[in-house]
């Protein structure tokens, strides 16, 4: 029931915030803050009260209520470690989004907070629901308020960006709906039980062609959301035009729904089709890493630059997901969390700068370290996170992903690792252009105030925690990751077409590796 409350509190809070705007301008902010704090507290409680490693099943809580029984649609929510982590991230960033909007948003405050809370509710629903119809429903719920957030409170080119965002996600979402329906009917015809339940649909046996088609339907939605390179072009526009809170939620959370979808649905539902597709997916990931990095380097709009870094970082996610081993998937989960934090933080810094300077053009900035050393230090931390400096969370994420993907495909991993050099190139450019060199602006740049420090410090603390002691997060995610991987570990390691190009690096003992894998599964030391 607590799962339902999470969604209900956010939705009710949103409506309440909207209504309360009529009474007082500040009230919606407090209501939003209160509701997000409430759900964050509840999720924290869930996390702390469930010692995940000792549980047998991956699932911690389930909730089930028939919704439209004629069509087999249930209001089915379930929580496992993966969704728990995602929820923690969601509410943490949600909290920050409310805080950063405190000064930035001055028009239609009430409606803004309504949208903000409903986006969060939609994301929460996406992370929790185990009914595919409901999943699609929440998928759309998070889309529409986001459209308003970009379209109403965005920057100069907001309507273009909002439409683009909407068209891309909506078109791809419809393909997913088709795939969901296809799965529903195939399963219904096979078993006579027409249901959208995730747990039931997992047992569907699919003909290879059908599996391929359905997988592409799901992939369409998730790859566009992630985004993977040929489908990424909505992202720079949406990110750079959205208000700061919108950018944070887009980069920190909406992109993660794509990654989550891959993990939760694509991997377990289509175990054979994904293996066939894996080399290509990994290739797309590597292209994304490199392409995003190259483009990020030349951008002059700070938020656009950060948006392209997201493209680059999300390449690691798809690279890892399609490596089908625990290292890579743990890396992916870590990447989702740390990228949410680090990119969110960079967008927040861009927001701080925009509030002060009214520009996002880094060519007009420079030398801000002198006047704003606190901002400089915090920016430095997250710039370093973005180039995955060890000791910060992103390093754990990317290293694990690469370790995992190395087992699957050598050459692509090499190219992905080269992406790290490119990450250095664009990341250092941010520092150089904004905080170093001489100040080209007339106006002074005040340093961060107390409210802004309140936003920044927890993020720094989190990214350090994730970098130095990520074990609690990894433990939380482990059972669900092993569950997603069940279909893969039983079968021999996936045949990887690309690595056959490189006989000399094709390393000797895969058997040995499997032994290590097995040993580690039995007694984790």
């Amino acid at each position: 029931m607590i799962l339902v409350w999470l969604i209900v509190i956010l939705m009710a809070g949103g409506v309440l915030a909207w209504i309360s705007g009529k009474i007082n301008r500040a009230l919606p902010r407090w209501i939003a803050l209160g509701s997000v704090l409430a759900v964050f507290g509840m999720t924290l409680y869930l996390w702390l009260s469930n010692p995940i490693p000792v549980l047998d099943s991956a699932w911690l809580i389930q909730f089930n209520q028939p919704w439209i029984p004629q069509w087999g649609i249930d209001f089915r929510l379930a929580l496992d470690g993966l969704s728990l982590l995602m929820l923690l991230l969601t509410f943490f960033l949600g909290l920050l989004s409310v805080l950063i909007s405190w000064r930035e948003i001055q028009t239609k405050v009430a409606f803004f907070h309504f949208n903000l809370l409903w986006v969060l509710a939609g994301i929460t629903g996406v992370f929790l629901t185990m009914d595919l119809f409901l999943f699609y429903f929440f998928w759309e719920v998070m889309l529409i308020p986001m459209y308003f957030l970009i379209g109403i409170w965005g920057h100069e080119n907001r309507r273009y960006a909002a439409f683009k965002f909407f068209l891309f996600t909506q078109a791809s979402g419809l393909l997913m709906l088709l795939a969901i329906l296809g799965l529903y009917f195939i399963h219904g015809r096979q078993t006579g039980l027409y249901t959208f339940s995730y747990f039931e649909l997992l047992n569907t046996t699919l003909a290879p062609e059908a599996a391929r088609l359905l997988m592409f339907g799901f992939l369409a939605a998730f790859l566009v959301k992630l985004p993977v390179v040929p489908f990424h072009s909505w992202l720079p526009d949406a990110h750079s035009q959205a208000p700061t809170a919108g950018s944070v939620i887009l980069a920190g959370l909406l992109l993660k729904t794509g990654a989550y979808g891959l993990l939760r649905f694509v991997l377990p539902l289509f175990p054979t089709a994904t293996v066939e597709f894996a080399p290509w997916a990994m290739l797309l990931g590597v292209i994304g890493i490199i392409y995003g990095a190259i483009l990020a380097f030349s951008q002059t709009d700070l938020k656009r630059l950060v948006a392209y870094t997201s493209v680059s970082h999300m390449g690691f996610v798809i690279l890892g997901v399609f490596s089908f081993n625990e290292w890579a998937l743990q890396g992916v989960v870590m990447q989702m969390i740390t990228h949410g934090l680090s990119t969110g933080a960079l967008f927040i810094i861009a927001g701080f700068l925009y509030e002060r300077l009214h520009t996002r053009d880094i060519q007009k900035m420079g030398g801000f370290w002198t006047t704003a050393p606190k901002m400089g230090v915090i920016a430095l931390v997250f710039v370093m996170a973005s180039l995955s400096l060890p000791g910060l969370g992103n390093f754990i994420a990317e290293f694990l992903t690469l370790v995992g993907s190395w087992q699957a495909n050598n050459w692509l991993t090499v190219f992905a690792t080269i992406g790290l050099v490119m990450a250095t190139i664009y990341s250092l450019r941010i520092m150089q252009k904004i905080f170093f060199e001489a100040n080209r602006m007339e106006q002074a740049l005040p340093d961060l105030n107390a409210r802004e420090m309140l936003i920044a410090i927890p993020m720094v603390a989190m990214i350090l925690w994730l970098g130095l002691y990520p074990q609690p997060f990894l433990d939380t995610a482990r059972p669900s990751i092993q569950e997603q991987l069940q279909a893969y570990t039983a079968s021999p390691p996936p045949p990887v077409a690309m690595s056959q190009l490189t006989p000399q690096v094709q390393l000797t003992d895969t058997i040995r590796l499997n032994q290590i894998l097995k040993a580690s599964r039995h007694d984790p030391d």
């Binding site: 030349s298 743990q330 050393p373 250092l428 905080f435 060199e437 130095l468 002691y469």
Partner: protein, 628 residues
């Protein structure tokens, strides 16, 4: 006894953290106390541990602080490993670091970012200690990247000058290229062994692989890539001369004594894997030999005193690689230690000169300083003697001589490598004493402003003593035969297999080395002190000047990389700034819009046309139904 181990890196980290948090609010004196004190205590702890270690001689001490993470058997710890090899490095890092910190309190006294400087320096010392104390390669990688970060921050310390920022970026990016290779090496190691724990890898590798194994070779070469990047060796050496943009204590600590020798540490630490691959060993030696020559020639032509020292650092690290490449592990480490002393000394002296001359770094504008700055002069002379391997009385002579000797006496040695080393030694003594003569002799060209006080002179004197006496712990067979150092390292680093019956030639080679060194000094004396007109005559030759320019630019590597990598990358990025994939979608949108415009024309607003449309439609429907 290992309980204190974690304190060694933790203290500088704590200092850095304090300075970051409160640095702007506390007085400079307190900043100095925190900055210098943390490293000082760390050095004291090192001393205590070192004494304990020497007295009990365990194989190693390991302390696990906490388990970093554990994913499906991949479980690195934040754990420290102390053995003889890391002991040497910790010793150099903390003690030289401590001296340089003291020195910095005076050198940076006028700077308004005093606290930031010490925060970064402390962070560096902590990361460097992490690097050398790590018990697994992932933690080593953490330190490895951490020192890269500090190097970046400190090179770009005076960030208002865009050039400094570019130099810092260049340093970070180029070393990152090497790090990437190293990371791939780590992936392969993990795939092979299922762990990154150094001891386990070392023991298992020797069992799993035989000599010449291809995988071992690839891994060794990839690790070498990392080492080459960090240590400024060919082909990734171009960042180091530019890194001199940082404050001089930084150059002394990071870009001479410690960080650039991280590559040496890595190779020495992973020597088991390198030893398994003759190809990789040869690569190490050849890279070392070529680098030491190239950097030596480049150093000959520099005018900026710090750039001379930078090239000389590259060259000296080349010697260490040369030693490692023939399996003379402990000789390489020995040279690292001696080099750490004398190069830090030289940089600090250069810093004192620069400070005295109002931040003038061009040697052509120096001169006659021997009278004005006597302490600096004498200590610089000791350092220069050591760098030039002045026979018998300098530490550098013993360490370098050992390397050269083992090129021939060692089983893996090679006459060509020996000759390269010898030629390098010759060039080294020329450019070293060129520096001495240009700086301290001749007439005074710039007025001396700041006279160094104790904070500068005391570290100089201590380092001077070490540069002089440090060599006596390891003396050649025919010359006292002291083997304290190699004995100390023997449990970790195996000794070189000697060519039999070669010892009788040792004194000849020593003589040769001494002659070469003295000859170089003499030439420098001739050209730069006695008869400067000889230089003029060289300057008149067009060919010589072309070579001069070529060497001055560091053999054109910067231009080469600019054309090969930088420009294409920037061009690619700029040309695609608008993202051509986006234009595909824009094209689709435009097509749709054109259709929209086409069809919206049919909506004329004239009712008659609509009626006509209805009629046409009716006719079409009727016709079709009739035809069907």
């Amino acid at each position: 006894m290992g309980e204190l181990l974690w304190l060694i890196p933790a203290l500088p980290f704590a200092g850095a953290l304090l300075l970051v948090l409160f640095g702007n609010r506390i007085s400079r004196a307190l900043v100095s106390v925190i900055g210098v004190g943390s490293v000082g205590i760390s050095a004291a702890v090192t001393l205590v541990l070192g004494i304990e270690y020497l007295s009990s001689r365990p194989a190693f001490i390991r302390q696990e602080v906490w388990q970093w993470f554990d994913v499906a058997g991949f479980s690195p710890s934040i754990a420290f490993h102390l053995d003889a090899l890391s002991m040497v490095f910790i010793f150099v890092i903390t003690f030289v670091g401590f001296l340089i910190h003291i020195y910095s309190t005076e050198y940076m006294a006028e700077d308004k970012d005093y606290a930031r400087f010490f925060a970064c320096m402390n962070l560096f010392v902590g990361s460097m200690l992490m690097l050398v104390m790590a018990d697994n390669l992932l933690l080593l990688y953490l330190g490895w990247e951490g020192v890269g970060l500090c190097s970046y921050l400190l090179i770009g310390f005076w960030y208002k000058e865009p050039e400094n920022g570019y130099a810092a970026r260049k340093a970070f990016i180029i070393t990152r290229v090497g790090d990437t290779a190293m990371a791939i090496g780590l992936f392969m190691l993990f795939q092979q062994f299922g762990t990154l724990h150094i001891q386990s890898i070392s023991t298992e590798a020797a069992q799993v692989w035989s000599i010449g194994n291809e995988t071992a070779m690839i891994i060794a070469l990839l690790l070498l890539g990392g080492a080459v990047g960090k240590s400024g060796q060919l082909p990734l050496q171009t960042w180091l001369p530019d890194a001199m943009a940082g404050p001089t204590p930084v150059s002394a600590l990071i870009h001479a004594a410690t960080m650039v020798t991280a590559g040496v540490y890595l190779i020495a630490r992973m020597h088991v894997i390198f030893a398994l691959s003759p190809v990789a060993m040869t690569a190490v030696a050849v890279i070392g030999a070529v680098t030491l020559l190239i950097a030596g020639f480049a150093a000959l032509t520099q005018y900026d005193i710090k750039r001379v020292l930078a090239y000389s650092t590259i060259s000296q690290v080349g010697y260490m690689f040369l030693a490692l490449g023939v399996g003379a592990w402990s000789s390489g480490v020995f040279h690292f230690m001696i080099h750490g002393f004398f190069k830090a000394l030289l940089f600090l002296c250069a810093g004192a000169i620069i400070l005295a001359l109002h931040h003038e770094q061009d040697m052509r504008k120096m001169g006659g300083l021997s009278k004005k700055l006597p302490v600096v002069f004498y200590t610089f002379l000791i350092g220069a003697a050591s760098l030039a391997a002045f026979p018998l009385v300098s530490a550098g002579f013993y360490s370098k001589d050992q390397i050269l000797w083992l090129q021939l006496a060692g089983e893996n040695g090679n006459i060509w490598l020996y000759l390269a080393g010898l030629l390098g030694a010759f060039i080294t003594s020329i450019y070293t004493f060129r520096m001495v003569f240009l700086t301290f002799y001749g007439e005074e060209k710039t007025h001396v402003g700041h006279k160094p006080t104790w904070a500068i002179t005391v570290p100089l004197i201590i380092l001077g003593v070490l540069s002089f006496a440090g060599g006596f712990i390891e003396l050649p067979h025919n010359f006292g035969h002291v083997v304290l150092f190699s004995d100390f390292l023997a449990p970790i680093l195996p000794a070189v297999t000697m060519v039999p019956d070669f010892n009788q030639y040792e004194w000849m080679l020593q003589l040769l080395a001494a002659v070469v060194s003295l000859g170089g000094i003499f030439i420098a004396y001739l050209y730069y002190y006695k008869k400067p007109e000889l230089i003029e005559s060289i300057h008149r030759s067009e060919f010589a000047m072309a070579i001069h320019r070529f060497w001055h630019s560091g053999w054109g590597f910067d231009q080469l990389y600019d054309t090969l990598f930088v420009r294409p990358y920037v061009y690619l990025s700029k040309v695609n700034k608008k993202d051509f994939i986006d234009s595909i979608y824009t094209f689709i949108a435009n097509v749709t819009q054109n259709f929209h415009e086409l069809f919206s024309r049919t909506q004329t607003g004239v009712m008659r046309n609509y009626v006509a449309g209805i009629v046409v439609g009716a006719i079409m429907i009727l016709t079709i139904s009739l035809l069907l």
